[in-house]
Symmetry: C2
DNA sequence: TTGTCGTCGACTGCCTACAGCATACATTCC
DNA sequence: GGAATGTATGCTGTAGGCAGTCGACGACAA
C-alpha cells in the first residue's frame, strides 16, 4: 500500500513515455553505451526503445537542457563530448556552489538536519570499513545533497544537483571514494555546521571537493583516455552491394 | 557582406521554426503578455504564431530547461511563477557566481580584455550622464558578460548567463540602474582586475551585485505586486449559451 | 592527379491525425 | 439539500508521414 509513496512525499508523476525514454537514453550515456560525440539518430533510438520518433525527440530536447547532449539544428543530437578542461571547470564550479551551501547550512543549523547528517555519515563510515564501495558512494552523494538542502536556497540546490549530475559523468573512470579520510572530513564539516561556524564549514567543504577535483585531474593525467572530439558519420559505411 | 557575421564569430545558425517560436514565446513572457502561472495551451500558441503544435511543444521543452516554464506531465506547460523568495535566492546565487568570475578574471588579466572592459565602462558612463537608461542597462549587462567570459571558465559563464537571464525577469519592476555610483564601482572593479588583485575584485563584485539584490528586495517590499500562485483554468468560462 | 559539379541517400523538421486522460458540469441517489 | 457518479469536452501525448536539406560519393574536366 505504501509502495508508491516516496519518503519525501514526492509526486507520483504519471510517467510519460518521453520521461522513461529520457532515463533510458541517459543511462546508456552514463554507462558508455552511447559514446561521447556519437550522433544520436532518432530513428535508431526509436526502434531500439520500441517507440516512435516523437518521444525520442522530446527526450533529446530535455537532455540538451541538462547538458548531456548537444543539439545542432539541422543535424540532430550528439552525445556531449566531455573534455578534461570542461571537467575541471565543472568541478571548480561544484566546489564553489557546495562551499556556499555549507556556509548557508551553518548559518542556521537545525537540530533535525544535523542529526540526519550524522546518520548518513555513520552509514557511510560503516560502508567504508565494510569495503562496500557502492554504499559508500551512495552515502556520499546523499550527504552532499542533504547539506545543499540544508542551505535553504532552492535555486542553489537545483543548480548544484544539475552540476553534480554532470560531474558524475566525469567520475566514472575515477576511483570512487577516498576511504576513511573522506568521512573524517565529513564529520568535521558536520561539527562546523552544528556549531554555526560558517567560515570553517565553507572552508572544509571547499577543501573537500577541491581534493576530489585534484584526484580527478591526477587520475585523468594517468589515464588520458580522452576520445577524439567527434567522428561525425551520418551514413554508415555502405555494405558491399551490387 | 559582413551583415551576418557577428563580432564574435557566432555561427549563422539555420534558424529553425522552433527557435523563432521559442524566442517569441520568451518575449511574450518577459514583456508580461503571458502572465506567471498562466497555462500555455499548445493549440492557442500554435494558432497565434501561425505554426503547428510540434514546434511549439519543442520550444516549451527547451524553455522548461531554462526555468521559464514549468512542465506538468499530463497537464502541459505553465509560465513559471516567480516568488520573491526565489528572486532573492537567484540574486544570491548570481552574486556568488559573478564574484568568483571577477576573482578568476583578476587571476590572469589580459590586456585586450581589460581594454574591452574599459570601453564598455566608458560607454555606460556616457549613457548614464545622457540619461539613456536603455543604453546604460545594455552596457551594464555587456560588462558583466565580459567579466564572466574573462574568467576563462566556460561552465561558470554558461551557468551565470542562465541565472542572469532569469534574474532579468525579476528586474522588470525594479529601477533599472543605480546611476553613476554603479559605474564608479565598475571602474574600481576593472582596476582591481587589471592589477590582478583577486580578493579585491571578488569583493567589489560581491558588494556590487549584493547592492542590486538589496535594492530589489526594497523595491519589492514597496510594490508587493506578487501575483497569486496560479489560478489553474483549463476551460475558459463557458459563454452564455442556450 | 586534383578540383569541381551533379546525383543520391539519409536524416531532420514539421504537419496532421488519433487515442487517452483529466477536468468540469449535469444528473441521480441518499 | 448534499454527495456521488455519469457524461461531455478540451487538452495532452504519441504515431505516422511528407518535404526540405545536408553531406557523401562518384563522374568528369583541367
Amino acid at each position: 500500500m505504501l509502495a508508491n509513496q516516496g519518503s519525501t512525499a514526492k509526486i507520483v508523476r504519471p510517467t510519460t513515455l518521453r520521461e522513461s525514454v529520457l532515463e533510458r537514453i541517459l543511462e546508456l550515456i552514463i554507462i558508455g553505451s552511447l559514446k561521447p560525440g556519437q550522433h544520436l539518430v532518432e530513428n535508431e533510438l526509436a526502434d531500439n526503445l520500441g517507440v516512435s520518433r516523437q518521444p525520442v525527440r522530446e527526450a533529446l530536447q530535455l537532455l540538451s537542457g541538462e547538458g548531456w547532449v548537444d543539439l545542432r539544428p539541422g543535424h540532430g543530437a550528439y552525445v556531449h563530448s566531455p573534455t578534461v578542461e570542461e571537467a575541471d571547470q565543472l568541478l571548480a564550479v561544484r566546489t564553489l556552489l557546495e562551499a556556499e551551501s555549507a556556509r548557508l547550512a551553518a548559518r542556521n543549523p537545525d537540530k533535525s538536519g544535523v542529526s540526519t547528517l550524522r546518520d548518513i555519515c555513520l552509514r557511510g563510515l560503516e560502508a567504508c570499513v565494510a569495503d562496500d564501495v557502492d554504499a559508500a558512494v551512495a552515502a556520499n552523494s546523499e550527504l552532499h545533497t542533504a547539506v545543499v538542502n540544508m542551505s535553504g536556497n532552492r535555486v542553489l540546490a537545483d543548480l548544484t544537483s544539475q552540476v553534480a549530475r554532470r560531474v558524475r559523468w566525469y567520475h566514472t573512470p575515477v576511483a570512487r571514494h577516498r576511504g576513511k579520510a573522506s568521512w573524517e572530513e565529513h564529520a568535521a564539516l558536520i561539527d562546523a555546521i552544528e556549531a554555526g561556524e560558517e567560515d570553517v564549514a565553507a572552508d572544509i567543504m571547499r577543501r573537500h571537493t577541491e581534493h576530489t577535483r585534484q584526484s580527478y585531474l591526477e587520475s585523468r593525467a594517468q589515464h588520458p583516455e580522452v576520445e577524439p572530439p567527434a567522428p561525425i558519420r551520418r551514413r554508415r559505411p555502405r555494405a558491399v552491394s551490387s
